[in-house]
Symmetry: C2
Subunit: 134 residues, 2 copies
């Protein structure tokens, strides 16, 4: 990381990442736009799960316009792993998959009921050809 | 990690993790049961995304009977991040959430249709009290 001697932002505070890593926060710091000093836990979990150098590399490998989304997903994954050290956000995937299975079963039942009603209606029209509303 | 001098497994081969990290694979190696030598890519992606020392710590912090599930979810997350460096497995969560929204909308429609048919049926019984099948 290039050290320009000029701190990021107007406050001269190092970003949450550089503060945790106890290093100078250069103007070119890859973390500074996404890990402000007033959100220290946001970076702490990311560092604990992925490691600062891995995240630095992941962000450097992406164009700037995609880094915000990448940080959001990395923070989400890190928080999920801290909450659930065994399954992390794969636990959420599993829960959502179960919800999909349940909804698909409910939908199949409801659609079968619609078909049943339509067939009953069609049958009643055939069986009562002269019936008219009173 | 304690080095016992005795290699893990019958083949004396280091596990995929120790091979990649170019270190001796002790009998007590925390990676060896989950990263066999014949699956080198499984650990390579995990190391690239999470870092070996973070994963080592995550596994050490878990009881042995939960480590297999933790490794599966970590491998899943790492592979997802390699495939999609911006969204990782959060992309899958987003896709599943959209599927759930679509299924809930379809289910609401089907259930409304069922209610509509039931009401029509009830109305026809009231309107045609003397109608009998021919």
């Amino acid at each position: 990381m290039r050290e320009s001697g000029k701190k990021f932002g107007a406050t001269n505070s190092p970003c949450a990442a550089c503060k945790l890593l106890r290093r100078k926060c250069a103007e070119s710091c890859v973390f500074a736009p996404y890990f402000p000093a007033d959100e220290p836990h946001k970076f702490a979990n990311v560092h604990k799960v992925f490691g600062a150098s891995n995240v630095n590399k992941m962000l450097q490998d992406l164009p700037v316009h995609q880094r915000g989304d990448a940080v959001s997903s990395i923070v989400y994954e890190a928080n999920a792993r801290i909450r659930d050290p065994v399954y992390g956000c794969v636990g959420a995937i599993s829960t959502l998959q179960q919800q999909i299975d349940a909804l698909q079963a409910q939908l199949a039942l409801a659609q079968a009921e619609v078909v049943h009603h339509k067939m009953s209606q069609a049958a009643s029209i055939i069986l009562l050809p002269h019936a008219k509303p009173t």
